[in-house]
């Protein structure tokens, strides 16, 4: 007959045995089994919305934890710092997967046979093999695209017309009449690219000393003429609507859409008609969601990637709280049918095709480190 003889001594012995078992690798097996119903997502806001996650939780009876990220480099830093053991999916902008995360072993490839056909239903620009979703060899599929958008600058069209802003491009900010009438949204990496464009320099190519000098001049001009610097898009839109500023440097559909959807349609993302990037003056970002190289990755990671391709879920992702953006799945009529006229106006659907045609893809700047030093010094030394 079993007799419960637990006392302090054998409690300690049993605890020791459990600890030894855990150290020997017994518990990871249990943890792995438990991850069948668990999914951790690290993403830009939208994918962490309960509107998007709750149907998945119900359908897969899963415990889904999602955390919003605030910048691509910050997110990649966290994976580098060991959080590959925490997350199953990561959602960042296009160049990070191919250029950084995959070469550094932070993400793992997807099965092409399952996921590549899904690109066929997307807008033509995303048809397979879509280069940003592939590794450098073109063999491995690194993630799924969904949200994207032109990202350049934003104006109040009651103060600066769309046509003027598109024609003048970033030179709008160099006009002496604009001194103290614009803000700089401090998405630092984007600002560096846009300050290159302002200086007439291609941001995604190696630069000559003369080009670096031109960038330095533009950098100082932009900072010294700015009224506000903030990394908060809501604060920037508020300043634009209240008349505190007439435009802000670095912004686009991503930052303007929520204000537009609230009725402030004078807030508009602008893509310059021409510029130094092989004639293009705008830049477009494309998000890529990839499976993290987690040693105990959840099997639900791939299921979630397939789930967000569905028409109703694609619409929820496009219009999750926070910011509203076009999605590559809008190439599918079943997805397009989900959007009403106000929603399409919020994401500037009327000019999206033209803006995309005038934009180069977001990429890696080979001189980013050197330019960042110049940029941060100009920000610090700003003549307020």
């Amino acid at each position: 007959m079993y007799r419960n003889s637990l006392n302090r001594r054998n409690f300690l012995q049993q605890t020791g045995l459990w600890a030894a078992a855990a150290a020997a690798g017994g518990l990871p097996t249990l943890a792995n089994a438990a991850r069948e119903k668990e999914l951790n997502i690290y993403c830009w806001e939208g994918y962490n919305s309960d509107d998007v996650l709750d149907p998945f939780r119900r359908e897969f009876d899963a415990k889904v934890r999602a955390e919003g990220l605030t910048s691509d480099p910050d997110a990649v830093n966290r994976l580098r710092a060991g959080e590959t053991a925490v997350w199953d999916l990561i959602n960042v902008n296009n160049p990070w997967a191919r250029e950084m995360m995959y070469p550094e072993g932070l993400i793992r490839p997807l099965p092409r046979e399952r996921f590549e056909p899904m690109f066929e239903n997307m807008m033509p620009a995303f048809h397979p093999p879509y280069p940003w979703a592939m590794d450098k060899s073109g063999e491995e599929l690194l993630g799924m695209t969904q949200r994207f958008g032109p990202f350049n600058f934003v104006v109040n069209t009651d103060k600066i017309s769309k046509a003027t802003a598109e024609d003048e491009g970033f030179n709008v900010f160099l006009d002496s009449g604009m001194q103290g009438k614009y803000g700089v949204l401090t998405y630092d990496n984007w600002n560096i690219y846009h300050m290159c464009v302002t200086a007439g320099v291609h941001p995604f190519k190696a630069h000559t000393p003369e080009e670096i000098e031109a960038f330095t001049v533009a950098c100082k001009q932009i900072f010294n003429g700015a009224k506000i610097l903030t990394d908060d898009l809501v604060q920037m839109n508020l300043a634009l609507i209240n008349g505190e500023i007439d435009a802000y440097f670095t912004g686009g559909t991503y930052t303007a859409s929520s204000a537009r959807y609230d009725g402030a349609t004078q807030v508009r993302g602008i893509t310059p008609k021409s510029g130094p990037m092989d004639g293009k003056g705008g830049i477009v970002w494309i998000e890529l969601t990839s499976v993290v190289n987690n040693p105990e990755v959840s099997p639900l990671a791939e299921e979630f990637l397939a789930y967000i391709q569905r028409p109703d879920i694609s619409k929820l992702v496009a219009f999750a709280e926070g910011t509203y953006n076009p999605v590559s799945q809008m190439g599918d009529p079943a997805v397009m049918g989900q959007f009403d006229a106000d929603e399409l106006d919020a994401i500037q659907w009327d000019s999206l095709e033209e803006e995309m045609a005038n934009s180069a893809d977001y990429d890696i700047n080979p001189d980013y480190a050197e330019m960042y030093e110049i940029y941060s010094a100009a920000k610090r030394e700003r003549e307020a």
Partner: protein, 298 residues
Amino acid sequence: MSGRPAASERAAPTGVRRWWRRPGPLCAFPVSLFLLAGFAGPLVIVLAYSFMPPRTFSLRQAPTLENFASVISDSYYLSFFWSLFLATTAVLILFLVCYPIAYGMAKLFGRWANLVTALVALPLLISENIRLFGWVLVLLKNGILDGTLQQLFGVSVSGLLYTVPAIVLGLVYVYLPFMLFPLVIGISMVPESLKEAAADLGASRFEIFREVELPLSMPGIMIGGILSFILALGSLAESKILGGQTVIMIADDIESAFTFAQNWPKGSVLSVLLIALSGLIVVMLFRNIDLDRIIGRR
């Protein structure tokens, strides 16, 4: 060393070899281990990274002073200056604002002091960013203050936001409790009998304040000052949200170095210098106060 130990020394085991027999070190061991891993560990890692070559993510490189040289030769002194200036200004204003309130709470308000304590402590339960954004709505052009004044008196005060005074306002507002509560304790420590004695000897109200109350409440003033100064020195949200980054504070540079610049070693150098600066200030100030006396051990 030679000779038999005295009886009192024999009673408690001595020496490193027998530390585990003594209850004090034994009880403190788990906490010490936790502190070492959780508090000192990250600091050591930050210190180690500061000696790594720029833009590396590994600690296995040959150490270098390159980042220190780059930080010193660059214009980071501006960020350190602004952080020191703003923190000092905020502490001085905090002292002027908090002393009368603390005096009232310690000596005059009686049972109402608890209500004041609750009212001051309550905002701590709300996120700092949300509270600061509330101030944005107040100070914004055509916002609550500007709009109201325009409506009632036809006066516009639209230039308040995104200025250095707006940052100071934010620092004073956010760190008020950290100055106030130590001041209340400091002022409570001043015995009424000494004030009465000074009055009996002919001291005026101002002389009593200057010669008795101020020196005796100095421990509270110092602790409140140090707490709010260190917090303000490392602050970030006030200059971003209310200041529109009119000036760049050092915490902003540290954040940028770790994120957008992808330069952990430079961020580590800036952090190490900020920690060293804070530590130096704290050590210098703590030389003038006696913590044992404040907590009543002597």
